[in-house]
């Protein structure tokens, strides 16, 4: 199966009657702006890691279209369960740079209130968030509302048992769940063809899910397919899966060295399919991006990058008491006693 593509790498637009898209200059400019801000944020976070301000960073570089295109196609009240690289999606929900960075600075284990943004905190164990999303969708189903649940995962996570349990569980329980796989071709150093011998959307179909393959670097295709599939899920059509073919243009993390396992030519090839460039070409060709818009966006990106740096460096350290106070909803004698003894020890050094 060929992936759904509406915008080719040269910015040429085609229509697909199966995936209608109401194309407006406003939509294209909005998607373009969100991708540019996400990329600038990601670049700045990378710099902050190299400066020693972050312990680790996992770049979303290259996956902006898959993330922005999908999350902009669901409703703000649709709950999202991300993995840990969904920075561009998180920014679309209004999560701040400080909230996104604090976990990677090592000050906290999560950065935001999931209820505020309808966006769950990052889950670092691969695919573990997928049954959570399924269970949440079971709750939605019981509450009888018309929300859907959007869950992100990757090609590596698809090898985990929980991904496959989720495909099966979602299909049998018919929950309002949209599983969105960003197949970025690499799980650290392991290529997708080592992970699986069937394509992921076909595997999902085998479990009884409606599943589609989309060019993940074509934001218009991602947006159109996600919007249509989300509405089918919302109207009781059952759970669905979308596989977006994209590319992790950076390493897995700042601790990784992709030069050890992949050819530069592969990266070069994907650079010609950069998701931002192709929408930029469309905007230019249609005359939908004037100099004023361009200059404003450049300035906004720089302001955002500066804000990212400043907020990161100002992040406060947690008091050690939060360790003991947040293990359980109610304190236990064991934790209270350990906390008291440690506080006494610290106080004795102060004297």
């Amino acid at each position: 199966m060929e992936p759904v593509q509406l915008l080719d790498p040269d910015g040429r637009l085609t229509q697909d009657e199966n995936w209608p898209l109401e194309l407006t200059p406003e939509l294209c400019r909005d998607l373009y702006r969100r991708m540019r801000l996400a990329r600038r944020f990601d670049e700045q976070a990378y710099v902050l890691q190299r400066q020693g301000e972050l312990g680790l960073w996992l770049q979303s570089l290259g996956q902006e279209a898959a993330q922005v295109g999908s999350i902009s196609a669901v409703r703000p009240d649709d709950h999202v369960f991300p993995s840990y690289r969904e920075h561009a999606a998180a920014l679309c929900r209004g999560i701040t740079p400080a909230e996104l960075l604090v976990q990677w600075r090592g000050s906290r284990n999560s950065g935001w209130d999931p209820a505020t943004y309808r966006f769950h905190i990052y889950t670092l164990v691969l695919a573990a968030q997928l049954p959570h999303a399924t269970g949440y969708a079971m709750g939605v189903q019981r509450d009888g509302t018309d929300e859907i649940v959007l869950a992100y995962f990757g090609d590596g996570a698809a090898s985990e048992g929980e991904a496959n349990e989720t495909f099966n569980w979602a299909a049998t329980t018919e929950v309002p769940l949209l599983l969105f796989c960003q197949n970025n071709q690499w799980a650290i150093s392991t290529p997708a063809h080592t992970q699986t011998r069937t394509s992921l959307h076909q595997r999902a179909q085998g479990f009884g899910l409606e599943a589609h393959l989309v060019d993940g670097n074509d934001i218009l295709a991602v947006h159109a397919v996600t919007a249509a599939v989300a509405e089918r899920v919302r109207s009781g059509g059952g759970p669905a899966m979308i596989e977006a073919q994209t590319y992790r243009m950076a390493g897995h993390s700042t601790s990784d060295d992709p030069d050890r396992y992949r050819d530069a030519s592969e990266l070069d090839s994907w650079k010609t399919r950069d998701p931002i460039h192709r929408l930029e070409r469309l905007l230019e060709e249609r005359g939908w991006m004037n100099d004023g818009f361009r200059a404003d966006l450049e300035a906004e990106c720089e302001v955002f990058a500066n804000r990212t740096s400043q907020e990161c460096k100002q992040l406060p350290l947690q008091d050690v008491s939060t360790l003991f106070n947040t293990v359980l909803a109610e304190p236990t004698p064991l934790l209270t006693e350990e906390h008291r003894r440690y506080a006494e020890l610290v106080a004795s050094f102060a004297e």
């Binding site: 369960f81 906290r108 284990n109 999560s110 209130d113 999931p114 209820a115 769950h120 905190i121 889950t123 164990v125 573990a128 997928l130 049954p131 959570h132 999303a133 399924t134 269970g135 949440y136 969708a137 079971m138 709750g139 939605v140 019981r142 509450d143 009888g144 048992g161 929980e162 349990e165 989720t166 099966n168 569980w169 049998t172 939060t322 106070n325 947040t326 293990v327 359980l328 909803a329 109610e330 236990t332 004698p333 064991l334």
Partner: protein
């Protein structure tokens, strides 16, 4: 979506007291919890029409509907993982793990997610979930059906672990665990589920003891036995036998395994000077290890003998024909009492 609730608990119980087995008490506890809170959902393998392989959920699906009593796919990781999502959505899932040895496919979700979501989110997300586990041996089952995995969970920060030993506790502790805002691993002594000998009067109108508290079940002066779950009956039987020989044993039912409530144990050891901890779980790095350490720390000058343990061997659970050797029984407990008294 939910079926109308029929208060069969009330129908069956004109008075507040009923004589129940542990299994029936658990069933009534579940039924009462579901009547009291529409957010309580029972889920697991074969818990619906069949009523669970041990019939603990018998009749619940018929009365509360398939949306509140779910037969799940056969996937423990999925059972626990979807329960996490249901809890985030505001439900109070009660998961049944069919047999103790089958909890391990769900282990990652329990220790990496259930136990840590509250901590990770700094309390923004709560995990009011109960994971029921029939545990322990003595039912003549094949491998993986007779294990005692409770120490893994007591060792994990962010989980609460309890075990009932009798029908009264089965009824009350299960409801209290369901009301708890934290995740609770609920270990049930499966070999006594349907024991007529353990049938007891359950008064559904009294105020129960707090969930996270230990209880002295029998007072004595010579030595203290501490146990939980199925080992409590072994200890009570041992104490009755010892009494005939003039040895007076105090028996404490731990009830809560994490957090431990060792206050009654310390008080008892200060009186008797001798403690024997009894459990089916292998001794190495176990709850009985923790009890022994804490008692030596708190009761050092009261001890007349080292803390002794009577436990399963540090082997995998044996084949059926050999399990009588593995399980702590009256003879092994009384032998340990003799050793403690002779020290």
């Amino acid at each position: 979506m939910a079926a109308p609730v029929i208060s069969r608990a009330a129908e069956q119980s004109p008075s507040a007291t009923q004589k129940l087995t542990i299994g029936k008490a658990l069933n009534l506890g579940l039924r009462t919890a579901m009547e009291n809170d529409p957010k309580v959902i029972v889920m697991g393998e074969d818990v619906g029409k069949l009523g669970g392989v041990f019939r603990i959920t018998d009749g619940l699906q018929k009365d509360f509907g398939e949306h509140r009593v779910l037969d799940t796919p056969l996937a423990e990781s999925g059972i626990i993982g979807t329960a996490v999502g249901l809890a985030i959505r505001g439900y109070r899932p009660v998961c049944e793990i069919q047999f103790d040895g089958f909890i391990f496919p769900g282990f990652d979700q329990i220790v990496s997610q259930v136990a840590k979501v509250h901590f990770r989110s700094e309390g923004r997300l709560r995990m009011p979930m109960v994971i029921r586990v029939p545990f322990g041996g003595g039912i003549g089952a094949v491998e993986h059906h007779s294990e005692s995995p409770e120490s893994y969970f007591a060792h994990t920060a962010g989980l609460r672990v309890v075990s009932c030993s009798n029908a009264v506790d089965a009824y009350w502790m299960l409801q209290q665990a369901i009301q708890c805002e934290d995740p609770v691993l609920f270990f049930e002594p499966k070999r006594y589920y349907h024991s007529g000998a353990l049938r007891a009067e359950v008064d559904t109108a009294v105020t129960p003891a707090p969930l996270f508290s230990s209880q002295v079940l029998r007072t004595g002066n010579s030595a203290t036995l501490v146990a939980y779950g199925p080992s409590v009956k072994v200890c009570l039987d041992a104490a009755a036998a010892a009494d005939e020989d003039g040895t007076s044993l105090e028996v404490i039912d731990l009830r809560t395994l994490s957090p431990l409530d060792l206050g009654p144990v310390f008080e008892s050891v200060r009186k008797t000077g001798r403690l024997i901890a009894v459990s089916e779980a292998p001794a190495n790095s176990s709850l009985t290890s923790e009890i022994a350490m804490r008692v030596q720390q708190e009761c050092f000058y009261s001890l007349e003998a080292p803390v002794l343990r009577v436990t399963g061997f540090d082997t995998p659970y044996p084949p059926t024909k050999l399990e009588e050797h593995f399980l702590p029984d009256l003879d092994r407990v009384l032998h340990a009492v003799d050793r403690a008294l002779a020290w």
